[in-house]
């Protein structure tokens, strides 16, 4: 009988790499390639419609619109917001990551989760909560007014920057944390033996090595800030997204189009920066992850705890507190008007999200399979366009499809299929990503084995590949489902008349000022976001 288990697992990644470059097992057929190309083209089509619409604008009109004071102020507003939010996120995220990874902070585990958690609050829900807390008729204003304290207005640049920072800085925190975890602390010990203090060592050794992680997080923050629609809209701050939405609503479509192209341009600049600097595999060769304490905080413990507590109160305490308050205080001031909440809104959300998840997953499979199984340039060419959803803010996508619907397919305009198509374009990157990595995780030799055992490529896919990538498919579908539930701008622009979801309901309530009505749906969305975060984290672990 065979004795000790010779572990072949260790060799696998290398072997797979070798095989990838040399063999053609399970090489997808031309039919798969065609299918993948079709999906890719469909996903890319909104860009074409946008460009077509832009081409209708006369040159002189275009120039006039682009150099108008309004456009320039929108541009400066957006860039300023991105700059401030990104900087603030780095300033906040990096120290928090260091505190939770490298120090002897009490309750590190708890703080790590608490500090990352704001990511689960959709920023428009957060903005909404902040407005109702600090706004003119808000809770705190109500409490403080009798005392003669006047809080500065929450609307405008300050409020938008504060809210966005509060809910997106965790991107920087998480990526920095990941870099720090993969940092080999033996290097710090080496520095110490070379008579360098922690502060100097951090600057000279740690910082350069975690820089790619910090940058990656900062770029995520920048992209999010640029594409976020809810926060600037609620804060009445004119950024691209808000301006586009308003222009569209006043039927100034040419202007909306040009603003969209400008927004895409700025996004492209950020993406180009990202690919230049890159998230970079920052894990180096020191593969052991370490949460060993390398710094003892000493008397700094108290200020550190105060900082953490303040962050958690502002980013979690305020929104959750406000939502809770609404839930219990359903007085007439909060729940007036005819906007009663109905559970069917929740069902609508779930149904449309489920349909989006299903279609997106089906569309992602050929793309992911083709690009995961071929080393050709064509595979790359087909896969890349499916990431357009990452770069295309929801409001721009919505706009492009509004053009398409009104001009080329009136029958589709404001129907569920078009809305679902928007979700597919927006979220297919998630499905392609998770499916592709599970396809790559399937040893090609397995397909070869099935073939030599008498299976056709199609049957080999069904009997071997499909069961093995099923978990990836499900995870991708779950992510799409959850993010679709939260999507705001495209939903607002493309919802069929009379079709109300959780998100559009919250939006209407918010616009009408009946905050109390929003408590339940907002809490549901927060819960859904928490689940999606869990899915993402689990996907990263495996």
């Amino acid at each position: 009988m065979a004795g000790s288990g010779a572990d072949s697992g260790v060799r696998r990644p290398f072997e797979r790499l070798r095989r990838l470059s040399t063999t053609a097992d399970g090489e997808p057929t031309a039919a798969v390639a065609l299918l993948a190309a079709a999906v890719s083209a469909a996903v890319l089509s909104p860009v074409a419609w946008l460009l077509l619409r832009a081409a209708e604008v006369g040159v002189s009109d275009a120039v006039r619109l682009l150099v108008s004071g309004n456009t320039l102020s929108v541009l400066t507003n957006s860039v300023a917001l991105v700059a401030v939010v990104t900087t603030a996120s780095v300033v906040l995220g990096v120290p928090l990551a260091v505190l939770t990874v490298q120090t002897d902070l009490p309750f590190r585990r708890f703080w790590t989760v608490a500090v990352a958690l704001p990511l689960v609050v959709p920023s428009y829900v957060g903005a909404f909560a902040f407005v109702s807390a600090f706004g003119p008729r808000g809770v705190l204003a109500g409490v403080l007014a009798p005392l003669g304290v006047e809080i500065p207005t929450i609307y405008g640049f300050g409020g938008a920057a504060l809210v966005l920072t509060a809910f997106v800085y965790p991107y920087v925190f998480l990526t920095t944390r990941a870099s720090l975890l993969s940092f080999d602390t033996a290097q710090l010990e080496a520095a110490r033996t070379l008579d360098t203090g922690y502060r100097t060592a951090f600057r000279r050794i740690v910082l350069p090595q975690i820089a790619p992680g910090v940058t990656a997080g900062a770029l995520l923050v920048a992209l999010y800030t640029l594409s976020d629609f809810g926060t600037p809209a609620i804060m009445h701050f004119d950024t691209f997204t808000r301006a586009i939405f308003l222009e569209l609503n006043t039927f100034a479509r040419s202007h909306a189009t040009l603003l969209s192209l400008q927004l895409l341009g700025v996004t492209a600049v950020i993406l180009a920066l990202e690919s230049r600097i890159g998230p970079g595999e920052a894990d180096g060769y020191g593969s052991r992850t370490s949460t060993d304490t390398v710094v003892e905080l000493g008397w700094w413990t108290v200020p550190a705890l105060c900082l953490l507590a303040a962050v958690v109160i502002v980013t979690l305490g305020v929104p959750v507190g406000i939502l809770g308050l609404w839930l219990v205080r359903s007085g007439p001031g909060y729940a007036a008007g005819g906007l009663a909440f109905e559970w069917t809104f929740g069902l609508n959300s779930a149904a449309v999200a489920a349909a989006a998840a299903l279609v997106t997953t089906l569309a992602a499979v050929p793309v992911a399979y083709y690009s995961g199984r071929t080393d050709s340039r064509l595979g790359w060419l087909i896969e890349r366009p499916t990431y357009v959803g990452y770069a295309m803010p929801g409001v721009v996508l919505g706009l492009a499809l509004v053009f398409f619907g009104t001009k080329y397919a009136p029958g589709f305009y404001q129907t569920l299929p078009l809305l679902i198509f928007a979700y597919v374009v927006r979220f297919i990157p998630q499905a392609v990503g998770s499916t592709r990595s599970s396809v790559m995780g399937v040893d090609r030799a397995l397909v070869g084995a099935a073939r030599t055992l008498g299976e056709t490529p199609r049957r080999a896919f069904r009997r071997v590949t499909l069961p093995l990538i099923a978990p990836g498919l499900v995870a991708g579908a779950a992510l799409v489902f959850l993010t679709t539930m939260k999507e705001l701008p495209a939903t607002l622009l493309l919802q069929p008349a009379g079709f109300t979801t959780l998100v559009t309901y919250i939006w209407r309530v918010q616009e009408a000022g009946y905050y109390g009505r929003a408590a339940l749906p907002a809490l549901v969305l927060v819960a859904i976001s928490s689940v999606s975060m869990l899915v993402i984290l689990r996907g990263e672990n495996t």
């Binding site: 004795g3 288990g5 010779a6 072997e15 030799a445 070869g448 073939r451 055992l453």
Partner: protein, 417 residues
Amino acid sequence: MTDDTTATTRESTDGGRQTVDPRPVGDDRTVGGDRTTRRDRYADAPPVLELADVRREYGAETAVESVDLTVREGELLTLLGPSGCGKTTTLRLIAGLDRPTGGTVRVAGDTVAAGAAEHATFVPPEDRDVGMVFQEFALFPHLTVGENVAFGIDDWPDADREARVEELLALVGLGDYGDRTPEDLSGGQRQRVALARSLAPEPDVLLLDEPFSNLDVRLRTRMREEVRRILKAAGVTAVSVTHDQEEALSISDRVAVVSDGRIEQVGRPETVFEHPESRFVAEFIGQASFLSGTLSDGRVDTGLGTLHVDTLQGLTDEYDGAAVDVLVRPDDLRATPVEAGGAAGSPDASEVSGVGVAGDGTVVGREYTGPSFVYEVELDSGDLVRCEHNHASEFDLDRRVRVDLTADHTLAWYPTE
């Protein structure tokens, strides 16, 4: 082992149809034993696998330049060569996992791949009766051991299929493992399952891609014998691929040495080892050293003295004046220490019959492997040779030694390059 021997014996006596029974009777007894019977057994068997001028290019790169090969029914042939020599590609061309860019592949008389471009014949892997054991075994992780073995025969009637799975698991010694998952198995067990799975559909040819490379060293030796036993019990025609010469020599009926996409030499293991037809084969198998010399008047003068032309295989006086390199292996030579100052006698004076030829030199290197020492000796002629000694013979570096040629066989030689 006894069980299997009786099993195969019974089968061949029961039927009495020697022509259709592919199973060599009790061949497993010859493991490491009588090679002659092995050769005789397959020389007249019908060819099952034929490769003619098979080529494979990837763009400008040639992986397989031109391979001609015939494998006979029931035999186990090993493609042996360094990594990157094209042996695995050859295997994949046979399996149909890759398309040749030229040449013909025939399995059991049917052409499964021929030519290139528009007139090409290409039978996909699922329609060839060729089984394959993959390097990392490629067991389906989502299926049990039994389901893995049954994978290729799922179109059989239930009862037959179950019987076949049971039979094969018993053959590989994993009778009780049908419900386990591949994850639960050790490396050796996984290999047995992979074997059973590929044997289940009764392939005409079974291919094994570096079958032992994923096993640890101790297990490897045991599994070699075990795999040979299973293949012989199943009576399958097999082609394996390895870069490990010891593995190739020990398990194969015949060895084909592959270099740069060509087969350099095919033959029984001992033929290939003792009479390598090319310098490459000589250097690849065994720790070859070469004695340089020039043939004149029926003798070659070397650093080990004069060798008579009769002691050199196939060398005749026709080659008079040719510069040759004579192959000597560590076990052909023996070093004896020479006391400082005392010369060990002039090599010119020694006999010319082959045995007894000797020369002086200096120990310049030594490698200790546990059971033995291999000394590297620089002969006074400038040639470097290796001598193998048991672990008790310990010489210091720089020691003067006399090296005796102790080989009792003819020596191979190659024209000097």
